[in-house]
């Protein structure tokens, strides 16, 4: 009854549609009258000003505040997006970042000792946590960390005269897409290794592909099914036996941080996603940070600069003759580094270990609850920080996701990893309470018990309902145009 009475859901006009010619928002200090044509060359000036929105400050505020209210985040909803570690991002991190906002990358290092010390200590701490010998903080995200790591491996092989010989990178079929994409960007041929019935890399298949042509194996451990690769030491041995390097995709480090170190597992290179494991806010898709740690033998190839300590002073060392070069301007996403630093200092060794263990406990607990609700668990054993579930036969994962939206939950990752049909990849993280997991499990159960019509129509009360993806792909409309 109420429904008929309510006004239609409010449309959200574009900022361009709120624009009024001549309206002003923020005003900069007055510019003197200049003969720009004379100063800059009339042939260099643009003919038409860019058609940016013309809005006042209040309209600006209402617009973006309004948009934020059409958005779910960890701070508003449980957000068990598998492979993404959507844990709580402590508010104190944002305050910390503010203390270091006004530093220019080219200012005299004597005037940035606090920032350099922070980076230096973070390099050390990340080595300690990963079991590696040296770290670069430069990569801007996980995928760039991957590229950096693979290029380091390539440089290493080249330094041993094996650049031509080693042309293949092995990647399990459960791997995240960025792994094969990275290997391609580094000029390698990618070979996919099938997963065995236990969800782990098929060791025999792997061994069959191993040989002097292999540059690296890229593994995620726990893998994207949330399962620990139990034969990891054996894999490492096999890889090293043929001269291949073992690469650790750290997207899932949250499961084992502090509890087991990639370095100790036999990995030669590891990248971290500071925006996952180390609570840099995900920001709607970045900016993140993807530091790379390496074992001793790979250290000479790290990107320049490195932060070093000489006596009591910290400085940037560019003198790395074997470096793969630079992967990003300046020193990486410093603001993200501050947050990771703060996180590590707050938790200490015990807090880090405990957080990992509770991430694992939460996932296992939720897995048990979902089983009772009727979900299938294709690989049902002790999982790590996440697990993959499937809805009961006849229910589509997409519908489960959309139904969850209606129930006030952000859905898990769907249809990934590709090797599980109708996959729901659930990562609750260690910062969610037992009651939240229980309520979520109940909602999941309710959703799959809804009738087909309801499910296929869901969600109903979100700012928009299901969107036409096909139309967007066929006739993408990628910008607003004046006169619309």
């Amino acid at each position: 009854m109420i429904a008929e009475k309510r006004e239609t859901r409010i449309e959200s006009p574009l900022i361009f549609e709120k624009s009024v010619p001549g309206r002003r928002g923020i005003k900069p200090p007055k510019a003197p009258d200049l003969d720009l044509a004379a100063l800059l060359g009339s042939q260099n000036l643009r003919a038409q000003p860019p058609k940016l929105p013309e809005v006042d400050e209040l309209t600006l505020v209402r617009h973006y505040t309004g948009l934020s209210r059409r958005q779910m985040g960890v701070d508003t909803h449980f957000y068990p997006l598998g492979s993404c570690t959507m844990k709580y991002n402590p508010k104190v991190h944002e305050v910390a970042v503010g203390l270091f906002a006004d530093l220019h990358p080219y200012q005299a290092p004597e005037t940035a000792q606090g920032a350099l010390q922070l980076m230096y200590e973070l390099q050390q701490d990340l080595c300690e946590i990963t079991g590696m010998d040296a770290t670069t903080l430069q990569p801007a995200a996980g995928a760039q960390g991957e590229l950096t790591g693979i290029l380091i491996i390539r440089a290493y092989h080249a330094s041993r005269g094996e650049a031509e010989q080693r042309r293949v990178v092995l990647v399990p079929d459960s791997a995240h897409g960025s792994n094969p994409a990275t290997a391609s960007m580094a000029g390698y041929t990618v070979k996919e290794i099938p997963s065995g019935p236990d969800g782990e890399v098929d060791l025999e298949a792997l061994k069959a592909e191993l040989g002097p042509q292999v540059a690296a194996i890229m593994l995620t451990n726990p893998n994207t099914l949330g399962l620990f690769e139990r034969r990891i030491l054996e894999i490492a041995e096999a890889a090293h036996a043929v001269g291949a390097q073992l690469y650790y995709d750290g997207a899932n480090l949250n499961a084992v941080m502090g509890m087991a170190r990639p370095g100790d597992m036999g990995f030669d290179v590891v990248h971290l996603n500071l925006h996952k494991t180390f609570t840099v806010p995900h920001g709607g898709g970045g900016p993140g940070s993807g530091p790379v740690g390496v074992k001793e033998h790979l250290a000479p190839f790290l990107p320049a600069p490195q932060v070093v300590k000489r006596g009591e002073a910290y400085r940037l060392d560019y003198d790395l003759p074997h470096s793969i070069g630079q992967v990003k301007s300046f020193y990486g996403n410093f603001g993200a580094l501050v947050r990771a630093y703060v996180y590590i200092k707050m938790l200490g060794a015990e807090g880090i270990k405990r957080s990992a263990a509770l991430a694992v406990l939460s996932a296992n607990y939720l897995k048990e609850l979902l089983k009772v609700e009727g979900f299938r668990i294709p690989y049902d054993r002790t999982c790590m920080h996440e697990f993959v579930a499937q809805p009961p036969e006849g229910v589509r994962t997409l519908d489960v996701a959309k139904g969850l939206l209606e129930m006030g939950y952000h859905p898990p990752t769907v249809y990934f990893p590709l090797i599980v049909k109708e996959a729901l990849m659930v990562e609750p993280t260690e910062t969610e309470s037992k009651e939240t997991l229980e309520a979520f499990a109940r909602a999941m159960g309710e959703v799959i018990r809804k009738d087909k019509e309801w499910l296929e129509g869901a969600p109903y009360t979100t700012p928009v309902r299901r969107l036409d993806e096909v139309q967007a792909n066929r006739r993408p409309k990628l910008r607003w145009s004046p006169g619309e």
Partner: protein, 433 residues
């Protein structure tokens, strides 16, 4: 202090339910030899302790706010509204908007951002953001090589040296060649797939790349322009001078300098290159009720669909910092951006004038220049930078020797006043005495 909510009772019940005897037991699949190693980290701090430590650390830095350091990062005023809006918790704590019904806020903001970048660059399609200017360039160059089917890139020396280094890393990776050319008038090497120029260039000079873009096209190459977003309030848009791809660093648009990051890179291209674009793209579409909405699109370009055939491995990009850029652009509008640019230009020219009156100081950037210029100093640049810093002035970015000896970059922004320029001139005079 960690952020886990579990009480003792919770722990007990949960462990029981999952059939583990204690937390360590959950790691039973791991090789026990490597489990639970001792970790040599500092003892945990509480938030109160931590904040005091951080304040001490921060006190060891000197603010470069309203300084004159240039080289790609500048101290423009950041309107308070920009971080205030971007810091809304929903933006901060969301991830890639794979579930569009839950993410219309971000998706619409990205769609608007794409439009703004398209407007600035004069090119019809912009993606949702790249990591930063340097990697946006690297990806832009890769795109050009994909499109041209060639493996050689000609890059002007005027392109930021760090960007060139990053491009080199990315090209090395696929075995492509990077050739540096000194001037836009120089002949292009054969079989070039991409020609790259920066405007204003690293030393601040303004160029007209119309001829270069034509030359590139004539040679079968794409022209990639590296541009400063604020300069585009005044200067020809890349689309106007025939660039196929435009990239740049977004920091000047409302992002804190933050010791070099995080910021964002932007990328815009010709319409027919859209399916070659790396990264996220948002499209308008309609929902079941016919209502307008926004959604990620053309995902077949991306790693999670295409894997080793993807256009790039990029996954997480720089959404929040790009959002700050969008809020900045919308907040200033065309007129405000023009005023920022104009005043920056005015201040830079006034400063150049003042500094070149100092004995031994010589303007080293060919005119016309924009908001930044290089001077040749009669003294070691690192020493001068340090001496100015001791006087409380952040200035004199050292320029790599390939551009000539003893060069320092100076950038001006709309924040500067005549008094600031005089202080710098006076301090520099003292330092050089």
């Amino acid at each position: 202090m960690d952020y886990t909510p579990h009480t003792e009772a919770d722990l007990k019940q949960m462990l029981e339910r999952v059939g583990a005897k204690d937390l360590k037991d959950l790691f039973r699949d791991l090789p026990q030899a490597i489990l639970d190693p001792p970790l040599d980290l500092e003892p945990a701090k509480t938030e109160a302790e931590l904040m005091r430590h951080l304040r001490d650390l921060a006190a060891k830095n000197q603010s470069a706010q309203a300084g004159f350091l240039g080289g790609g990062i500048r101290s423009h005023h950041i309107p308070a509204v920009v971080p205030a809006l971007a810091a809304r918790a929903e933006f901060l704590s969301a991830y890639t908007p794979y579930q569009p019904e839950a993410s219309q806020g971000l998706l619409q903001a990205i769609f608007e951002y794409q439009t703004m970048i398209s407007e600035l660059t004069g090119l019809p399609v912009a993606n949702a953001s790249m990591y930063d200017g340097s990697t946006a360039l690297a990806e832009g160059v890769l795109l050009a090589l994909r499109e041209s089917g060639r493996m050689r890139v000609a890059i002007l020396k005027g392109v930021h040296p760090e960007y060139r280094r990053v491009v080199k890393t990315y090209l090395d990776a696929i075995g492509a060649e990077l050739v540096t050319i000194a001037s836009p008038a120089d002949p292009l090497p054969p079989e070039t797939g991409a020609v790259v120029g920066q405007n204003p260039d690293f030393l601040g000079s303004v160029h007209n790349f119309t001829a270069l873009a034509q030359a590139a096209h004539a040679a079968g190459a794409l022209f990639v322009a590296v541009v400063d977003p604020i300069s585009l309030a005044l200067l020809q848009a890349p689309g106007e001078y025939g660039a196929d791809i435009a990239v740049g660093e977004g920091q000047p648009l409302g992002n804190a300098m933050a010791f070099g990051g995080p910021h964002f890179g932007f990328m815009a291209v010709r319409a027919d290159l859209v399916r070659q674009l790396p990264g996220r793209l948002v499209s308008e579409t309609t929902d079941l009720d016919g209502k307008r909405g926004y959604i990620l699109t053309l995902q077949a370009r991306e790693q999670y669909i295409r894997r080793s055939k993807a256009k790039s491995n990029i996954t997480t990009n720089a959404q929040l910092t790009a959002l700050m850029g969008a809020v900045y652009l919308a907040g200033l509008g065309p007129e405000g951006l023009k005023e920022v640019a104009t005043r920056s230009v005015a201040m830079a020219h006034a400063l150049a004038e003042k500094l070149s009156r100092i004995p031994g100081v010589e303007l080293a950037t060919p005119k016309p220049f924009f908001n930044e210029f290089a001077v040749r100093l009669p003294k070691d640049v690192l020493e001068v930078r340090a001496a100015l810093a001791r006087r409380g002035i952040a200035a004199a970015t050292p320029v790599p020797a390939e551009y000539g000896p003893n060069l320092a970059l100076l950038a001006c922004t709309e924040q500067h006043t005549e008094a600031d320029l005089d202080s710098l001139a006076e301090a520099l005079r003292e330092v050089l005495e």
